[in-house]
Amino acid sequence: MADKPAISLARLDKRFRVSEREPGLWPALRALFRREWVEVEAVRELSFDIARGERVGFLGPNGAGKTTTLKMLAGLLHPSGGRAEVLGFEPARRRPEFLRRVALVMGQKRQLSWDLPALDTFELNRVVFDVPRGLYAERLDEMVELLDIGEVVRRPVRTLSLGERMKCELVAALLHGPEVLFLDEPTIGMDVAMQLAIREFIREYHRRHGATLILTSHYMEDVAALCERILVIDEGRLRFDGSIDALVRRIRPLRRVAIRSGAALDDATRTGLGALGQLADAGPSRVALDVAPARVPEVVARLLALPGARDLEVQDAPLEEVMRELFSRRGELDAGPGEEGAR
């Protein structure tokens, strides 16, 4: 059964009913007697498969349905329609055999007891997840060392910094060796160094244990560093499914080729270069061209031939820019699943 997907979604839907009112005293009073409800479609007909051991990132703006989807897969939310299957289980039934094989880490929530050392929660999890003592000690030592939290786990959780707490949350979630790990904004609010440490740890955990990883994050760096596959979800729908490179090329099909030159360009050179691509920068000492990937070699050769040319760079558009563009172009990018070859 090795090729059966770890996770499988078929036309998964989630609708919420939320009350709505205008601001102010009068609408507030009126809402006491007559509430107005609106139905929000958080997730609409979402279908995709995730293979065992895959690392998948959910991207999308706030309220796009990423976290809702994640919570349905973890079994916290009941779908309004469609089907979700994780490791052969229906998540919403929350069978103990299912819960023992998955874990959910939420950057904004905690499972650790606030006024107790994290070790107390670890110990509880050891028992409720049926982790043998030897294996528990081994895993705990391994993670405590990787995360460098030897002392931290003995202090009351309320005294820890955000980053220290998240490290302990990760340990608590991983002690039972989950095969599927759901991560919802695990690095939210952390400084760059801490983000890096958490990211490295997650990557190492995946390397050692081959768990299936699903991550939502606002930090593009997290997703780029951890995930080989990206699912873009917006307004509850799947907009893109493929690698990060494919996503970048789809949004920004052109690549930027830049070079420092010794002298200002003359008009003839400028016109010549303009014919190869869009001239993004033609300053006295720097030239940058946005060109189609197929033309990169030709453009590179032409730029290197310029007098005094040095420091050649070929790059994709920065990820943050790509995302900004992606979400400002809502609706336009209706990429069905499997858009690997968009170039």
């Binding site: 919420f16 009913r17 939320v18 809702t68 919570k71 973890a74 079994g75 916290l76 939310l77 009941h78 929350r94 103990p96 819960l99 023992r100 998955v102 874990a103 959910l104 939420m106 929530k109 905690r110 499972q111 007891s113 006024d115 107790l116 107390d120 929660t121 110990e123 509880l124 999890n125 050891r126 028992v127 409720v128 997840f129 049926d130 009351p156």
Partner: protein
């Protein structure tokens, strides 16, 4: 014992240990809770003064001493606070962490609530002892059969409080402030449970009704049993009533929990 039975026992024990650790961390607030539930001792002073010139109903001064000290003790031993925990956990989404563990969240709450009772009792003991010394002691039942019933009756009283709080706490799946509704219940409890006045002193008519309600089953009945005011027949009937309320309120709580989980998440959990 089977492996799964052993597993369940060790889980219960682990939850108990966590509960004891949490209770010790929260000992100050636990003490505040004890002090906030000393109302029966205030009633004691009032009724004692009123009974100075002669018994009221079938209670003389010593009778009131016994009743209200027993009420204070029963209140401490049947205490639960799951409604506040659950209300907060549902609203903030903290419940998710419990739902991800392969142990039922209700069992988690039951154990953490129960495991705080020994410490709570220890904190309440000096208060109870002081009152005991000041009043010159209380009389409890001397009938061994009744004494044997005290523990199960107290356990049922605790369970009634717990499932009531659970049922009301589950309303947080749909309402913004379910714990506020519990204050309404608590208001009725203060009046009808025999917390301020023994229900047997209520006007005829009201007394009979009050003694049928879950409030009385959770407080007045265990108190009267403890201080030896009930016949065997009354004790058996009272236990029957406790069981009826436990099953009825427990079924409500179970339904609210099941339906609630389906609605969970609508508030950004």
């Amino acid at each position: 014992m089977s492996a799964s039975g052993r597993g369940r026992r060790s889980k219960v024990a682990a939850l108990w240990r966590l509960g004891v650790a949490e209770a010790s961390a929260y000992r100050a607030s636990l003490l505040v809770w004890v002090l906030a539930t000393t109302l029966p001792l205030i009633s004691l002073v009032l009724w004692r003064a009123l009974a100075e010139s002669g018994p009221i109903g079938d209670y003389d001064q010593h009778g009131f001493d016994s009743y209200f000290i027993a009420a204070f003790v029963v209140r401490q031993l049947s205490a639960s606070w799951v409604v506040w925990d659950l209300d907060r956990q549902i609203r903030t989404g903290e419940l998710s962490a419990l739902l991800m563990r392969p142990v039922h969240p209700v069992l988690h709450h039951a154990m953490t609530n129960l495991s705080a009772l020994p410490l709570r009792t220890a904190l309440a003991a000096p208060v109870g002892l002081a009152v005991l010394l000041a009043t010159g002691g209380i009389s409890i039942t001397e009938d061994p059969a009744m004494l044997a019933l005290v523990v199960p009756v107290l356990a049922l009283a605790w369970a009634i409080n717990f499932v009531t709080q659970l049922a009301i706490g589950c309303l947080a799946f749909w309402l913004t402030k379910a714990a506020a509704l519990y204050d309404v219940w608590l208001g009725a409890y203060v009046v009808l449970a025999g917390y301020l006045v023994p229900t047997s002193l209520f006007p005829a008519g009201l007394a009979e009704v009050a003694r049928m309600l879950p409030f009385h089953a959770a407080l007045g009945f265990p108190v009267e049993l403890l201080i030896g005011r009930l016949s065997v027949a009354e004790a058996v009937a009272g236990i029957g009533l406790q069981l009826v309320w436990l099953v009825a309120l427990g079924a409500l709580a179970a339904l609210a929990w099941r339906w609630g989980l389906r609605a969970y998440g609508a508030f950004g959990a």
